[in-house]
């Protein structure tokens, strides 16, 4: 039992002089513990809300896993993402974005934006003789990973609505050998007639 401070001591003296001693003991302990618990819960809620606002509206640090963005982002790299571009509709071609996965709403994918709405995208493989093109519909973007051989992206599930984009990745902080801003796409420009 810990009692600190003058108000608490006075409290104890006051209580002890009123009822049986075990009741007074319970009352003091309970008030102290209850007060501390409420304060802890209050601080937790406050910091959780601040964290939610920061991740939702400003940005945060993300760890990426998977081989679909090699060599730009390797497996288990840690990068910084910012969400301001999404809210101000400033996502451009060549940006690497984090988006909600179209097939599983609880997981996120990390791909590069190849085309915005209205762009003509080359969807045939380079080995095909007849080239086929698709237009990106309004309100959608075309995402592709940098590692074209090993990436399920818009070539598989089609154009992705803009509303699924969560944020833009702009800086890598781990591993330290690769610290700095992210490179351009190694695949060159894929949409003809920009």
């Amino acid at each position: 039992m810990v009692i600190a401070g003058i108000p608490e001591t006075l409290d104890v003296i006051f209580l002890f002089s009123r009822g049986p001693w075990w009741q007074s003991l319970h009352r003091t302990m309970l008030r102290g513990i209850l007060g501390k618990t409420f304060r802890l819960v209050g601080y937790t809620i406050q910091y959780a809300c601040i964290a939610h606002c920061a991740f939702e509206y400003v940005g945060g640090v993300v760890m990426c896993s998977g081989p679909s963005m090699e060599p730009t982002i390797q497996n288990s790299d840690i990068v910084c993402a910012e969400n301001l571009s999404r809210h101000f509709y400033g996502i451009q071609r060549g940006d690497i974005v984090i988006a909600k996965s179209p097939s599983d709403p609880k997981s996120n994918i990390c791909k590069r934006v190849i085309g915005l709405e209205g762009d003509k995208i080359l969807t045939s493989r380079p080995s095909d003789f007849f080239k086929s093109h698709n237009y990106v519909p309004t309100g959608h973007v075309w995402l592709e990973g940098d590692n074209l051989q090993n990436s399920t992206d818009s070539r598989y599930y089609g154009p992705v609505p803009y509303g699924l984009i969560r944020g833009r990745i702009f800086f890598k902080i781990w591993p330290l050998s690769d610290f700095g801003f992210l490179r351009d796409s190694p695949n060159g420009h894929r949409s003809p007639g920009d």
């Binding site: 809300c49 606002c53 909600k100 097939s103 709403p105 519909p137 309004t138 609505p161 699924l164």
Partner: protein, 168 residues
């Protein structure tokens, strides 16, 4: 002079403390738990906005209920419009992933809803920009907004698009 400066500094500190507590908590509550919205348009008549342009219904959007992206057939949900990311549309869920629907006015007569998608329709057929126009909607678009409870009682009408096959 020193006294009035002390007063200003204390006031400023108290304001900052209150501001940084109240604003994040309010924003988080509105994003994650529930918020209030006004419904515009006629695509959900007669359930919502039966009075047309005279009176707009005010609804309570319940974010907490869909935090795991679980909706039932027949729920009214609001989602980010696939055609215009700045807009939110309110429709009813007709079919979930794996179901086959017989559509009204869609380019394919029968559509199987892919994984991670839902089929939404407005109650007022013909006046609704819904899955009959843009195809199955991604479940993740619902993440931005919510499932819905109105202040008045809704009698949910029978589901008009035929649900041909219910996936288990």
């Amino acid at each position: 002079m020193a006294q009035s400066q002390g007063w200003v500094t204390r006031y400023f500190k108290a304001f900052c403390k209150g501001f940084f507590v109240a604003v994040p908590v309010a924003v988080t509550f509105l994003d994650r738990v529930a918020c209030v919205a006004r419904v515009e348009g006629a695509s959900m008549q007669p359930s919502l906005n039966p009075g047309g342009s005279q009176s707009s219904d005010v609804v309570l959007l319940n974010h907490w209920k869909v935090r795991n992206f679980e909706v039932q057939r027949g729920d009214i949900v609001s989602l980010v419009s696939p055609k215009n990311p700045e807009q939110k549309i309110i429709k009813r869920v007709i079919a979930l992933e794996g179901d086959i629907v017989k559509t009204i006015g869609h380019k394919n007569r029968y559509v199987k809803v892919p994984r991670g998608h839902i089929w939404v329709e407005g109650d007022h057929h013909g006046h609704s920009f819904d899955s009959n126009s843009f195809g199955p909607a991604m479940n993740s678009l619902k993440a931005r907004t919510t499932s819905l409870v109105t202040f008045e009682q809704i009698n949910s009408p029978e589901i008009c698009t035929e649900l041909l096959h219910r996936a288990e």
